[in-house]
Symmetry: C2
Amino acid sequence: MANYAETLPSRRTVELDDELLHDIRELIHEDALSRDEGQPATSAVHGGLLNILVDLHAADIADLLENLEEDDRQHVFSLLTPDIASDVLTELDESLRETLLESISTEGITKIVGELESDDAADIIQDLRDDVATEVLDKIEEGDAASVYQLLRYPEDSAGGIMATEVLTSFTTDTVKGAIRKTRQFVKEGILPLNIYVTDDEGMLKGFLPVGQLILLGPGRRMGNVMNPEVIAVPAEMDQEEVANIIRKYDLVSVPVVNKEGKLIGRITVDDIMDVVQEEVEEDIERMAGLAGTEELATSVFGISRIRLPWLLLGFCGEILSAMVLKNFQASIEEIIAAAFFIPIIMAMGGNAGIQSSAIVVRGLATGDVRLGGTAKRLSKEFSIATVNGVVLSLLVFAVSYIWFGDLRFGITVGLALMVVVLNATVVGASIPLVLERLKIDPAIATGPFITTTNDALGLLIYFGIMSLVYA
Amino acid sequence: MANYAETLPSRRTVELDDELLHDIRELIHEDALSRDEGQPATSAVHGGLLNILVDLHAADIADLLENLEEDDRQHVFSLLTPDIASDVLTELDESLRETLLESISTEGITKIVGELESDDAADIIQDLRDDVATEVLDKIEEGDAASVYQLLRYPEDSAGGIMATEVLTSFTTDTVKGAIRKTRQFVKEGILPLNIYVTDDEGMLKGFLPVGQLILLGPGRRMGNVMNPEVIAVPAEMDQEEVANIIRKYDLVSVPVVNKEGKLIGRITVDDIMDVVQEEVEEDIERMAGLAGTEELATSVFGISRIRLPWLLLGFCGEILSAMVLKNFQASIEEIIAAAFFIPIIMAMGGNAGIQSSAIVVRGLATGDVRLGGTAKRLSKEFSIATVNGVVLSLLVFAVSYIWFGDLRFGITVGLALMVVVLNATVVGASIPLVLERLKIDPAIATGPFITTTNDALGLLIYFGIMSLVYA
């Protein structure tokens, strides 16, 4: 991002680069040092630090905190005013936020929560110890507390869990002039709305109007007549990933959330959805890569180890099974030692074919392109694809092994085995996510190490099973 | 999405579910049938089809087209008016769009392109045959053609390539009233702007104002005094993934694009960025899963095969290397047959450890968390993590093999080998993406099959190398 800063020399928020990071660290240390020595920080140092922080965007301060050591981080955070501190907190990684919050007094937290929109407030209160959360909720404004309680009722990853309850609404019977007055009131509270939502007297959602359009309409017209009635809303129970799909599909910047009766209860803006998409991507990739969590959050070597080891250990156990399969076919291996040379090909082709089909099904289920209804059709298609790929790979491995060892029977056996292994791996890869989805378990765990390990053991069983049948 | 439709019985766009899809197919067939028989379609059937289409959101019509057969697809598309057809085209997958465009006359395409914003128009013109593109550009309005030519100058995946040139601007010297007039003019052309950007006389970007705020300001005030000067802009050359990172980080709904001098030349809205993020995710996952393209775009079994086979074949070649390594150590395997049983563990642990570290580095490079500057630090950290995980796995495999075969020397050898294999695989997994990044090759190819195949051959070489040294 350094380049980006260079091309915009005029007005911009200050960019956080390695050089600035270095300067800030120096200032913090001077500041902290003089405090430790019982002296007041020299006002120049302290002022210099504050000056830099004021110029930084909240997202950059969050970046800065993530790059600092524990002590420095608390020191810098303590310098922020409640309104900036609250913005910074919402931009921080969850684990870092939790540790920071533990270092702040309940009064400090209450001040910060008071500055936040309801969805961010609920996120932070969820991170607090139960007794602290109760105390904070007691101290903040009654209306705010009620909003937070409402949000906490919904699962964290549902539309209700990520929505904000601050939503600009007008009645169908309001005039455009009245709606403008409401918008003005709303903006005064520091929230810039993108749409105004229109409801009937009972709060049922009836339509919407982009705020920018208000200025283009006659002030005396009724909102019910000027609104766009084709409003796309999401129910509070909807999974956040599905909400993201809808926002992306219909190119929305904000989507209203309704309860079971169709009453407007909140809205989700696209910037929150960008974070959701990012979260889900990280999750998918973690799973495919066999990581048991988000590694950036762990900084110590042992912390990272804890994230990488679980899947390695699971794989280890699976491969012990593979070793037992091989032990079982010891006689075959001793008889035809060349059979051992093709173990890597059998394992790799089974593993890769399985990953391919599982990834396609998992992604398809996530984006809604694959539906449970079409299971039989999907599996028969995967079978056809596996047949095509299996035939190609089989012919190749037959050719290689026949040319290499000059043994026709051996070549045919390896080719046949690879064909069955690829067929099996592809169908297993496609089936497991479908089964998990039906069992309401996140199908995404069925990508990466899980599928490859399963297919390693099954593949070797098939390979040596066929080998020992042929050479029985 | 069927559930979502049920919970919103009142006002909504019609949802495309399996039932509706079935009804539409029937109507198309009746309609097409009567045309084939030389009879005019019964107006009831034809009208019914049109009625359904009119109620559907453009994104849903695109979905519908993707679910229809080739002939039906063209038939339905031909029923759409140019303004709806143009919206639908922008929502379609690229490969489908290309085939559809081939079936339309140049006049038809010209009408459709005339309805589009510049960024979408450029996308479509890029898909056309060169002679058709030139003809279309000749026929559309001169100003529109100039915008398209400008956009085509930038790489497809740069900020300049994805921006729209229709940008609502006012001068610093304009009054709020004047800015409102410009907004009104803009909206009349069918584009609803989110922000108004403010430039000086020479077009240099100076600030911005959310359109919704215009109504809250005194009409006589100067834009230069009411604008927010802290505008975050991106240069036209910036990669689209970096633009996405900036939009997400700073919670933007729209970002202005500037040229090298800092002049405002376009804007990118968050809905386009959602598509970019989606594209990049699909790409990352394809690469990790070893797919050579986006599979949803291919519908035939052979088409999908073509996407899955390349990486399988690459893996195949790599594993032939592994087979040659094993052949080379035939004597060792014959001497200690148990060594063969641990081939799967060696391969799987090397493969998994390599995938983990490569995925972390590749993601880090994409999000900017990992910088090339810290290469040595990164590698030494990976080495530490690999040491911790290697020690755990080594002790385990030592225990298992010692208990199983009661041979201390064998147990120690397997344990030692696994330690070295995990160390090597982790460092290889982290290094290859860093090397690729330095060579300006997309590091994402170094995830999935590429890393596992490399580590399979290296791992077996290390394993049997150590084995033959110990038992020499």
